[in-house]
């Protein structure tokens, strides 16, 4: 295997595994910037994966090649719906954020498999009608050397994720909405004094995280597993949260961290083709993403500062 095709393999499979993490980490960023911890992202991804799989199987005959892309929307919508449970519990009912997130993570796999059984009579859906597969990125693929490595036979959703990260950065740091969202996460009472509707902002943050987390799950089902079952989403939501922290609650940082974790995850699959890495026993490549997450969290924690009012319940002034 020559160096260009080896790099092409590494880049494309890193991006394939990174795509769900990018979207979910961006979702986490919005939620936590508004002050709500969302460890329920894992469960939200499960629901997104489930919904997109159902959509994919039911509507392939109608939408054809567009089906997986529309499946992202289906996953995103169910994600919003599920994140509302977390929003109501943490914002209105003053539940502990971690407890509520744990409920989401307990409920989602049970509910998704329950529904899969109710619809298909089995615990998994079976192969989807159409998965994302690999695509060339329009025009950019024609650039010499860089084109074949980065833009040929690569993951479409990952590039959509990178684009979304840029948009998310603009929204968070360059718009009025973003400023308000961040102020609510830093000092809700000051924000309230300035006439900002704190509850509304927190709802927006959590619902955006539901939408993006649902999309992340939809990519996991339609680009990586090509079916929905109980093992489709296995810890990716948590890794995405780690990417968000590693990226210091900044969309661009979260995206970069997600790509790095995507690379770490892909090694277990493509390690056999890469010199040096092929000599490492498989089990180390399997646990690498998780151990790396811990090492990175220990290493960067001094330098990354969470939103100031993260995890606290806001009680309206009377």
């Amino acid at each position: 295997m020559n160096i260009v095709s080896l790099l092409q393999l590494i880049v494309s499979s890193s991006l394939v595994y990174a795509a769900p993490l990018i979207f979910t980490a961006l979702g986490g960023t919005f939620s936590e910037r508004s002050g709500v911890v969302n460890i329920g992202l894992e469960g939200i991804m499960v629901m997104g994966a489930f919904m997109s799989a159902i959509f994919n199987l039911m509507f392939y005959s109608t939408f054809g090649a567009m089906t997986p892309w529309l499946g992202l929307l289906a996953g995103g919508l169910i994600g919003i719906l599920f994140s509302l449970i977390h929003a109501v519990a943490t914002i209105n009912l003053r539940a502990d954020h971690i407890v509520s997130g744990t409920v989401i993570n307990l409920a989602a796999p049970a509910l998704a498999v329950f529904l899969t059984r109710a619809i298909y009579g089995a615990a998994q859906t079976g192969p989807l009608a159409r998965s994302f597969g690999f695509a060339d990125i329009f025009l950019l693929e024609k650039i010499p050397v860089i084109g074949p490595i980065f833009f040929q036979n690569t993951s479409g959703p990952a590039y959509l994720g990178i684009l979304t990260a840029v948009i998310a950065w603009v929204v968070l740091f360059k718009t009025r909405f973003g400023l308000r969202l961040r102020s609510v996460g830093e000092h809700p009472h000051a924000a309230e004094t300035l006439g900002i509707n704190v509850y509304l902002m927190k709802y927006a943050g959590v619902m955006i995280s539901g939408f993006l987390g649902g999309i992340g799950g939809a990519i996991q089902a339609q680009a990586i597993h090509n079916e929905f079952g109980i093992l489709t989403v296995a810890g990716q939501g948590f890794i995405a949260m780690a990417a968000m922290i590693f990226g210091k609650w900044n969309p661009l940082g979260a995206m970069a961290a997600a790509i790095f974790f995507g690379f770490a995850q892909s090694l277990a699959r493509i390690g056999n083709y890469i010199p040096i890495i092929q000599d490492i026993p498989g089990v180390w490549l399997q646990v690498l993403p998780y151990l790396l997450t811990i090492i990175i969290l220990v290493g960067v924690v001094g330098r990354s500062v969470a939103p100031k009012d993260l995890g606290n319940t806001f009680v309206k002034s009377k």
Binding site: V88, T102, V103, L111, F114, A118, L291, I294, L297
Partner: protein, 357 residues
């Protein structure tokens, strides 16, 4: 005086109402999908309570849940979320089986002590990593314990396939590492209930003594309630974080030993993390951190877990329904603000009526 009575009443009312609301939610969901909830719940309860065997199985499940629940609870009391109970249970399971298979000829009492001891240490170390990182680097124990869960899962499967055997299942442990108790097995017509039950009852008592009667337990609670004030009072936050995580993981590891030696007597590759870990979290939250509450919550969830197996055949309802009910119960426990507001409203309207008389 009245307020203590009322808070005690709430401490019982909130879990009871949460359980009720959880079951109602499950029933509504079943109605929505055209299932008959009465049939489903009846299948679940009759399936367990009509047979000594399945009652024994439910108690066996409750035994392990008591350990994982107490494990989660002690870290929770100290202000930490040990989401890694599942991984620590797995670590304990591996350690117990490994020791039991390595020294099959030791006398029963020695071998059981060694096996269970190794499991407690394995679980404690696995949780202690997260505790130490939290204490010295401020690293979020939530993320670290979750990552250690998946690490434990992959390492366990690797150890089974490459160290303990070449296949996917280890040999069964010898009779000297057997946890079963003759008369209990007979009483429950051959269920896998074992002496773990007695260990669990002892641990419940020890937990209560530790938390309410000993200085170390008081410090753990104090740090959980207000870390700054406890540090000011001369308690070491670092020491208490690590101590509570070590005990937490040790209890989970003990649960792993009882599950491994008592329920299965062997170890096999896992496709996902054992649900006993996460249900332990649910048990602890429902028991509101009270050891006796946790014990009874474990029995409830043991019945739900074992009874769920009857729902597909007898009522045509997928057995995931039980997990949905569990999640709903914990939702209402977590969001108990709504229950408290409703109770207060009812109470204040009652006193208002009385005042009018």
């Amino acid at each position: 005086m009245q307020t203590t009575n009322q808070s005690r009443l709430n401490a019982l009312l909130i879990p009871t109402l949460s359980i009720l609301l959880g079951f109602i939610f499950g029933a509504l969901l079943m109605l929505l999908f055209g299932y008959n909830p009465i049939d489903a719940y009846e299948a679940m309860l009759m399936g367990v309570f009509n047979s000594p065997y399945f009652m024994g199985e439910a108690m066996r499940q409750a035994t392990v849940l008591t350990f994982t629940g107490l494990g989660f609870a002690i870290a929770f009391k100290a202000g930490f979320f040990n989401i890694g109970i599942a991984g620590q249970l797995l670590a304990g399971w591996v350690a117990a089986i490994w020791v039991a298979l390595s020294f099959p000829d030791l006398p029963r009492i020695v071998l059981l002590t060694l096996s269970i001891g190794a499991a407690i240490i394995a679980g404690a170390v696995w949780a202690g990593i997260a505790g130490a990182l939290r204490a010295y680097f401020g690293t979020s124990e939530v993320i670290v314990t979750i990552m250690l869960n998946y690490t434990a899962l992959h390492l366990t499967n690797y150890i089974i396939r490459n160290v303990l055997t070449t296949g996917n299942t280890t040999d069964r442990v010898g009779e000297n590492a057997d946890l079963s108790v003759g008369w209990l097995t007979e009483l429950t017509q051959g269920s896998r209930i074992n002496m773990g039950l007695f260990i669990a009852i002892i641990v419940v008592i020890l937990y209560w003594v530790f938390m309410t009667q000993m200085t170390a337990g008081f410090e753990v609670r104090a740090v959980g309630l207000n870390p700054d004030a406890s540090t000011y009072a001369g308690m070491s936050a670092e020491r208490n974080i690590i101590l509570s995580m070590l005990i937490s993981g040790g209890l989970a590891g003990l649960g792993g030993a009882v599950h491994g030696l008592g329920t299965f007597g062997n170890l096999f590759t896992q496709s996902g993390l054992p649900s006993l870990g996460f249900n332990g979290i649910a048990v602890a939250l429902l028991g509101l951190g009270n050891p006796i509450g946790i014990f009874f919550s474990s029995i409830l969830f043991g019945v739900l877990d074992v009874g769920a197996g009857f729902m597909p055949n007898r009522a045509g309802v997928p057995d995931e329904m039980a997990d949905i009910v569990i999640a709903a119960i914990i939702f209402f426990v977590g969001a108990n603000y709504i229950i408290r507001v409703a109770l207060d409203k009812m109470r204040s309207s009652k006193t208002a009526e009385k005042g009018g008389e």
